[in-house]
C-alpha cells in the first residue's frame, strides 16, 4: 500500500489481517525481537507457578501485530499516532483478527488525515486490544 490509499478513503472503510494459531515460538521470537524476557511469557513452570494455565503472549506482541493495520494500509512512514489498551490476554493456539475501521477523514494544515478505530479479537470474540491510529501522508 502507499500514500494513494488516502485518495478515496471514507468513514466506515475497513482493513483486516488474520493470524491463525499463535504458538509459544511466536512468543519466544518476540522476546528476542522486542526484548521482553519476562519468564511468564516463555517459561511454562514459571507461568503455572504464577497461577496461569500456561504461558501467554506479551501485550506488545499483539500491539505490534495490530500496528500492521495502519502501516500496511496507509504506509509505514505515514503513521502519525498509534495507541492501545490491553483488554484480554493472548494464549497459544489463538486465532486473532486485527482490524481497522476509519472513523474520521479530515484536513489539518491542508494535509489529509485519517483517524481509525483498531481492534484485535480472538476466536471466542474476546477483545484482546482496543486501539486507535491516525495516518497522514508524511513528507520530509
Amino acid at each position: 500500500m502507499s500514500a494513494s490509499a488516502f485518495d478515496n478513503i471514507k468513514e466506515g472503510d475497513e482493513f483486516e489481517l488474520v493470524h491463525k494459531g499463535f504458538t509459544r515460538t511466536d512468543f519466544v521470537r518476540y522476546a528476542g525481537g522486542g526484548g521482553d524476557f519476562n519468564p511468564i511469557h516463555h517459561d511454562e513452570s514459571f507461568a503455572k507457578m504464577s497461577g496461569n494455565e500456561t504461558v501467554f503472549g506479551m501485550g506488545m506482541l499483539t500491539a505490534g501485530m495490530l500496528s500492521r493495520v495502519p502501516a500496511k494500509w496507509f504506509g509505514a512512514e505515514n503513521v502519525k499516532s498509534f495507541g492501545i489498551r490491553f483488554k484480554s490476554r493472548l494464549w497459544p493456539g489463538d486465532n486473532v483478527t486485527f482490524k481497522g475501521v476509519v472513523n474520521k477523514v479530515y484536513e489539518e494544515n491542508g494535509v489529509k488525515h485519517v483517524d481509525m478505530d483498531l481492534s484485535a479479537i480472538n476466536q471466542k470474540e474476546e477483545l484482546l486490544i482496543q486501539g486507535f491510529a491516525t495516518c497522514r501522508p508524511w513528507k520530509s
Binding site: S2, H19, R29, Y30, G32, G33, G34, G35, D36, F37, N38, G51, M58, G59, M60, L61, A63, G64, M65, S67, R68, P70, A71, K72, G75, A76, E77, V79, K80, S81, F82, G83, I84, R85, F86, S88, R89, A133, W138, S140
Partner: protein
C-alpha cells in the same frame, strides 16, 4: 510489560539499527518492505528503512532488572505485585529511521483512581516520555499506562 522511568534506564544516544528493525518486524510478522528493504525505502524517497510504530518499546528493556525498583522510587506509590501494563500510546513528529540516534527523556507522570468493573479500586499511572534525535528535535512522544488492580487478575 513493566518499564521503569525511561530516563533512568536508557543510555543517551541509542542507535536505531537496520538489523534490529528487521528482527523486530519479523517478530510481529510484518513483511512491509519499508521495514526490511533499503532499496524499497530509498525508492519511496525515505533515507532508510522505517522503524515500526511500537519499535521503541524495545528500548524499554535496555535496563538492568534491578532498576525496575525505580518505579517504586518514582513517587507513583505502586504495589508492583498487582501492576499490569494497561496500554501505550505513540505520537510521531516524524517517522523513525535506521541511522537515527535517539535519546529518551522522562516526561510527566500522573496517577488517578477508578472503580474497577470487577470490583475494587484500580489505580492508574500514566508515564510520559519523549525521544529526541541528534538535532535535539522531538521525534516521538510515548505515553505508558500502568494499572494497579485490587488483587490478582484471573482473566
Amino acid at each position: 510489560m513493566l518499564s521503569p522511568p525511561v530516563a533512568k534506564i536508557n543510555p543517551p544516544g541509542v542507535p536505531i539499527e537496520r538489523g534490529k528493525i528487521h528482527e523486530f518486524a519479523c517478530s510481529i510478522y510484518d513483511d512491509n518492505p519499508l521495514y526490511h528493504d533499503l532499496e524499497a525505502a530509498k525508492a519511496a524517497g525515505l533515507p532508510s528503512v522505517v522503524a515500526p510504530p511500537t519499535y521503541t518499546s524495545v528500548q524499554a528493556f535496555f535496563f538492568d532488572p534491578k532498576d525496575a525498583g525505580a518505579i517504586l522510587e518514582s513517587g507513583l506509590d505502586l504495589d508492583l505485585r498487582f501492576v499490569l501494563h494497561g496500554g501505550q500510546e505513540f505520537y510521531f513528529e516524524r517517522p523513525i529511521f535506521a541511522g537515527d540516534v535517539l535519546t529518551a527523556h522522562q516526561g510527566e507522570m500522573r496517577t488517578y483512581e477508578k472503580e474497577g468493573k470487577r470490583g475494587g479500586l484500580m489505580k492508574f499511572a500514566e508515564m510520559e516520555s519523549y525521544y529526541t534525535d541528534e538535532n535535539d528535535e522531538v521525534v516521538l512522544r510515548v505515553k505508558n499506562i500502568l494499572i494497579q488492580t485490587a488483587g490478582v487478575v484471573k482473566k
